[in-house]
Amino acid sequence: MSRIAAICSLIACLTLSSCGREQQWPARPITLICPWSAGGGTDRVSRQMAVQLEAELGVPVNVVNATGGGGVTGHTRGATAVPDGYTLTMATVELNMLHWRGLCPITPRSFRPLTKLNEDSAAIFVLNSSPWSSVGDVESAVQNADQPLKASGTAAGGIWHLALAGWFSSRNLPTENVTWISINGSAPSLQELMAGGVDVVCCSIPEAQSLLDAGEIRCLGVMSDERCPAAPDVPTFKEQGVDWSMGGWRGLMYPKGVPEDRVGVMQSALAKITRSDEFKEFMTNAGFNVSVIQGEEFGEFLDTADEDFGRILNQPGMKQQQKAPVGRYFVPGILGALGVLIGLVGFVLSRRAGSPLVEGESVATRSETESPTDARLVVGFIVAILLFLIACQTVGYVIAGSALLLAMLLMLKTRVSWAALIVVVAVPGLYQLFAGVLGVPLPWGWLGW
């Protein structure tokens, strides 16, 4: 009797704690996917947008850093999210490039573009002690190099690599005279420039601002039509007689298929934010170059950019540049061989020793303090977690989590009333902790929480 009462009250509690269904949109927290890691430029812009969207729309906006795979993970998740308007993606220029490199099927056409926020042009940096003082000096150095010039700024095939390679091939310079060292990110590339490991770094001006201000490095030119407001002393490529411009962009997008009225609400909120002084002040202070285009115009911009990138990425010189000195299975191969070797040594050792002294001893102490594990319980727990994994997205965290916890407690022969009490306290508590306090969006599911 008490069991039934306990379970009934548990269900009642869980149902009551869910709020009313949505009457007006948006009615629950919005997720903003950032494909790059916490602390980087894209993350900073995402978090700023989240704060302002939150104020504008009146619901929490949580940033999720879906990092990895050079942007593949985040963009794929953004494009394949449920198109209910509750998932936004901070897309970056890599969206124009990943599909050309055959890394994922996602293209700008997989998204519904909302607003482009900014565009940062590529620029060329050298050490202060470098003999080069203009873009032309670098060009003649490449032309007459006896050993290849070393350059970096991002991973091979990244936007800044493209900018540099595109510049050289547009000027018909021998691209084999430049070795691109694939370093992940502009900060470590600049560190490499300081350490003398590379001769030239190509990245955007805000990324190099502090070293530039410190006088440690110089900027030879920026690949844009107009000078960068953050560094007005730096001449453009055009001013130096080189007709070449390239840059990266960031913009907010919806997955395809979001209802038009919701797109409208979001679009007008974004329009209001991008016109606000707060947004402009933030972007200027952080050194990001504001360049706002909305809706369809943004779509057209993406189509043109996509064609341009396709042309550059399919050049033979570019493909050749991406080759690394050792193949991709070289290191795993060595590791595998090493593993087999160590395994053999270990096998011989354990065969010879029978039961080594220390091991025997520790087994003894272990068995004193612990009784043997019950394999059935382990299997039970594993199955419970697997079921949680399968069900969580559909039924939501609270229901799936409660079921998981309840199942595990019962497997350990806890009294049902106690188990129910623990579930009622622990699951909503954890949900509040993660979703409420820490801003981690847990799946909502049926409760529409």
Binding site: V64, A324, R328, G346, F388
Partner: protein, 506 residues
């Protein structure tokens, strides 16, 4: 006393709002750090939007305090539950939990806390006195030097393991390194071992892997039907609060008296490693832990506590180290300082050499904030240890399921992806199997963390030298590091060969 210094004193100590912010950040840092799956970096990233409304001194004070507290708080679940709260605690998870089982948890944490504070203060002093000179050291480190540094870091994982189980540690390490090759290879920009599965492009995220390897596997090992009716994770100690504090301080005092060189060395090591962009608190803890353990003949509890103390000193000292390149060149020493640079730039303050002249008061404030953060960590840390002590007195059959739910939620939280929960589960099963056969788990985590960067630096060095292996040693610092790495490796191989030869005395 110079005017900026007085201004800084006033800015930090004279403002009640700064005190309040520091206090709240300390609580927040302890809280986030002690939840497995939420790292110090995440704590700071979540805070950034709030930093917008604070002035630079208050914003920096909050960040410094929450990070210092989060790194210490990472030790709490490590010691009580064997789940490293942050990656910086993974090095000594096994060792610390062994002591917990002997009822030493509170004593160990007390010492870890005082050692963290000592490391933090030492790091601050180094930052104050030598910051701008030391920043030049980072300039010697190109990709090649990092390659050797990471290799030395990896060999530490093997050195840490005891006696004749060394081959097992090496095998664990290789397993971790192999797992790290899954996903999109950063230098080749080509997928490996992904089997066409888009989720695997990001590779195996090491935080869910760490939670699974240590946390879930420990839960599995504890599942036994007969026992859970009555059993509690052994607590044994009923230390009073006063005794906990006095023991923690006398522990630190003895350490400083008996081996002043060793403790200071661990701190300095931490600063140096933390200063190098790409290394950080987690590697600092590994290296210091290995250095403390390498000369130990037999294993005793006291030796373990000593080594863990060194490791906690080093990971806290590394935090201050990370600020050196950030302040001097604007190059972030780790992901936290990357965020700090962003926050400072948002406030129109650009880090770099000029900051020491233009914004001297702010620089002094940062130093003072470091001191304040480490001091406020003491009382809050002791309270947290005390509260954490209650966890272990909960009967296992209630505790274990809640731990599992925490593991699941924590690994989901990092990337908001259920795939990571799956990773956690698989790693939990693997970790359970490995521990049953006495394979150490720490090296797997270190392999996962360092595997990617190691391969990247290796291939970058080769690209730079046009495929010529001589490029790996033709810079002076690289050559020195290479010699160190070779000495350590031959040492390890020699002991293995000696073990292979039939030993007549056995």
């Amino acid at each position: 006393m110079s005017e900026p210094f007085v201004q800084a004193l006033h800015d930090v100590f004279g403002r009640p709002d700064v005190w309040l912010i520091v206090f709240l950040s300390a609580c927040y840092g302890i809280f986030v750090g002690s939840i497995p799956g939420l790292t110090a970096t995440m704590a700071v990233a979540l805070f950034v939007p709030m930093a917008y409304w604070l002035d630079p001194v208050a914003a920096v004070a909050a960040i410094v305090t929450m990070v210092a507290c989060a790194i210490f708080a990472g030790d709490l679940p490590t010691v009580f539950l064997r789940i490293p709260g942050t990656p910086a605690s993974a090095a000594y998870a096994d060792e610390a939990y062994r002591l917990t089982k002997k009822g030493q948890a509170q004593r160990l944490l007390g010492i870890a806390l005082t050692c963290s504070v000592f490391g933090g203060l030492l790091g601050t002093v180094v930052l104050m006195l030598l910051g701008s000179q030391l920043a030049r050291v980072a300039q010697w480190f190109s990709v090649t030097e990092y390659f050797w540094l990471y290799l030395i870091g990896l060999s530490c994982a093997v050195l840490v393991s005891s006696g004749n189980a060394r081959w097992k540690a090496m095998l664990s390490l290789v397993l971790g390194l192999l797992l790290a090759t899954v996903g999109l290879s950063a230098v080749h920009v080509q997928p490996r071992f992904t089997f066409g599965w888009p989720s695997l492009y990001q590779g195996i995220s090491f935080i869910p892997a760490m939670i699974g390897l240590f946390g879930l596997s420990e839960v599995f090992a504890n599942l036994s039907a007969q026992e859970n009716q009555t059993d509690q994770i052994q607590n044994g100690e009923t230390t009073s609060f006063g005794r906990l504090i006095s023991e923690a301080f006398s522990g630190l005092a003895t350490r400083l008296k008996q081996r002043p060189v060793g403790s200071t060395q661990a701190g300095l090591l931490g600063v140096l490693i933390g200063m190098l962009p790409g290394a950080g608190a987690d590697i600092a803890a590994w290296v210091a832990f290995a250095a403390a353990k390498k000369n130990v003949a037999e294993e005793s509890d006291e030796e373990s506590i000593r080594a863990i103390g060194d490791a906690t000193t080093a990971n806290s000292a590394a935090l201050a180290g990370g600020w050196i390149p950030a302040l001097v060149f604007g190059i972030p020493g780790d992901s936290v300082t990357a965020i700090v640079i962003g926050v400072l730039m948002m406030k129109n303050v650009t880090p770099g050499p000029a900051i020491f002249e233009d914004q001297a008061a702010l620089v002094y404030s940062i130093y003072l904030v470091f001191l304040l953060a480490n001091l406020i960590m003491l009382p809050i840390g002791f309270l947290a240890i005390r509260l954490g002590g209650f966890i272990v007195s909960i009967p296992k059959r209630y505790l274990l399921p809640v731990i599992v739910l925490f593991c699941v939620t924590g690994s989901y939280a990092l990337n908001g992806s259920l795939f990571d929960v799956g990773t956690m589960l698989v790693m939990g099963i693997a970790g359970w199997g490995l521990s049953r056969h006495k394979f150490p788990l720490g090296p797997v985590v270190l392999g996962l963390v360092l595997g990617g960067p190691l391969e990247e630096r290796f291939i970058q060095s080769l690209t730079a030298s046009g495929g010529n292996p001589v490029g790996l040693v033709n810079r002076p610092v690289a050559a020195i590091l290479a010699v160190v790495a070779v000495i350590i490796t031959t040492g390890i191989v020699r002991t293995m060969v000696r073990e292979l030869k039939p030993d007549p005395s056995v």
